[in-house]
Symmetry: C2
Subunit: 327 residues, 2 copies
């Protein structure tokens, strides 16, 4: 069996692949709080594993001072968890041994998007823009004639419209606006960590309560009512002061800012690379459909199932390693 592992800052995703069968595990595991428990977590999946294929972004979490320190620590922890060969996927689309990976730590940092891109270019569409909206970020990746034309570091990707730091769940709504039209007036908003995009996504029916897999900002529930309560706080108000329909209107305005942030970055890539087909994946597929109206959209959820769309990089590295080993 091949295990594809994607260790993110907030979530760890694991795909078990054997032949044509696969099974996906999705674990909310905030590395900045729990990194010392990672080996214990991974050992639960050490059954009949022949190869491990690894991608990561957790080295960016602020529990690590530099990428070097993060990459080394994560690979060491994966090595402690399994007895089989470990291959680390790099931003050039190659698998490295764990020793090579530690040496070339910049190449294996944040390579999850390349794994998904390779999956798309090999199996779905040779020339397209891959847009992957996860819980925390949105990756925008140009692919032309099977070539993944993306920048390699997160800094370069943020400088070139290829990484937008907004996600379906974890983005504070204070990132979307510091003022907004409310009751006809341009109104200042709170900068406190009172509500997140998960609250907006749930209020507007873009995700279910089950999809709300991160902690709530106030530790309260994930139901519609609790989401409205959190959103009211962004106006320094409570639900005695602001009506539900005003809050839903407020949610829609914040949502539009979210859509615009994604749209303007995708438009820039579309124009720069002359690409109009878009492959979407990730928890935010419904949001991406709203943001990218007018493009020719292919959905990974509809192609491979929701499980894969929620854990694409781990599925991708497992599948790509399987292909490489079968050659």
């Amino acid at each position: 069996m091949i295990l594809g592992i994607d260790i993110g800052g907030a979530n760890t995703k694991i795909t078990e692949i054997e032949g044509d069968n696969y099974k996906i595990h999705h674990i909310y595991f905030p590395m900045w709080k729990k990194k010392d428990e990672l080996v214990n977590l991974l050992k639960n999946y050490n059954n009949n594993v022949d190869y491990v294929a690894l991608v990561m972004t957790a080295e960016l979490a602020d529990c690590y001072k530099t990428k070097k320190e993060g990459v080394e620590d994560i690979i060491n922890k994966v090595e402690s968890s399994f007895d089989c060969p470990i291959y680390v996927f790099d931003v050039n689309g190659n698998f490295l041994t764990s020793e090579e990976a530690k040496k070339n730590y910049l190449d294996v940092s944040a390579s999850n998007w390349m794994a998904t891109a390779k999956l798309v270019s090999e199996f779905i569409n040779e020339s397209c823009i891959l847009v992957d909206m996860g819980s925390t970020t949105t990756d925008i990746i140009p692919i032309k004639n099977k070539n993944v034309l993306a920048e390699k570091t997160d800094l370069d990707r943020m400088m070139n419209n290829q990484l937008v730091y907004v996600g379906t769940l974890r983005t504070p709504v204070s990132f979307l606006a510091n003022k907004i039209d409310f009751r006809g007036k341009l109104t200042n908003l709170s900068s406190e960590y009172f509500a997140i995009t998960a609250d907006i996504s749930l209020i507007l029916n873009k995700i279910t309560e089950e999809d709300y897999t991160c902690d709530t900002p106030d530790g309260a529930g994930k139901d519609f009512e609790s989401c409205l309560t959190r959103l009211a706080r962004v106006l320094c108000a409570d639900r005695e002061m602001v009506s539900d329909s005003e809050l839903i209107d407020f949610a829609n305005k914040l949502y539009n800012n979210l859509l615009n942030l994604i749209r303007e970055n995708v438009d820039a890539i579309s124009k720069r690379f002359n690409l109009n087909d878009i492959v979407i994946t990730g928890l935010g597929e419904e949001i991406l459909k709203d943001a990218l109206e007018g493009y020719n959209i292919i959905s990974i959820k509809e192609t491979y199932g929701k499980d894969v769309s929620l854990a694409t990089p781990s599925f991708a590295v497992a599948k790509l390693l399987q292909k490489q080993l079968n050659k």
Copy 2:
């Protein structure tokens, strides 16, 4: 002795006044984490106290579901801490008994700015804009012929340019910008809680390390180097990838956004009320001087000393209660 107490979400400030002498205590006390320890904290100051004058904003913290719940809990805790009469300052500029205050909970919620405004109108300038930049927020208060012409609730104040939710220390830099010019390109920024205005303020010499009284986002130091490390993370970079001078340039751009947010709200008030004198107070006085160039500025720090400028509402309610009792 009269005790002026200002219980904020992040800081509690206490002024002891006896005759013309006063002493100020400034305690970092995050209510959303530690509210159950408030009585223990306050009991430390229960020596020869004849009267307590109270203002609060902590009822807005997300440890309380509504203002009603917050106001009641805070007053109950203050009552448990002292045996003397407690007067709660309200947004109309009056002192209420604790029983009246609990009944009129909306009137005593977030009245700290009114305390400062009354101090200014009674002792400094009858017609001016009071701008108070604390650790977390900036209050902008029009005063005309001794009348404090401010909205009463935080929601109304945010709708009318009188409350800007940016402060000297605790504002996440992600609130100031979601994209910024970097190396000549419009660059996306991270929405994670990686750096705060305290980091910018320290890097740009607007505050000292001693003034950095809140927690750092990563738990690391408050020195110049640690602030730069945190700021680099907002670009998904580390200090191997971005130079110090680039980071200082980045800090300056974020700082300009901060200045503009304050400036545009003050300009709106100046125009609406035809006021051009400005009284500044709070930890952010140096920032306000940068933001409000061109106005006639009177500094409370230079008038009453730094201690008072850092705890003005607690000083104000103590002084105002003293005046009222002496009548």
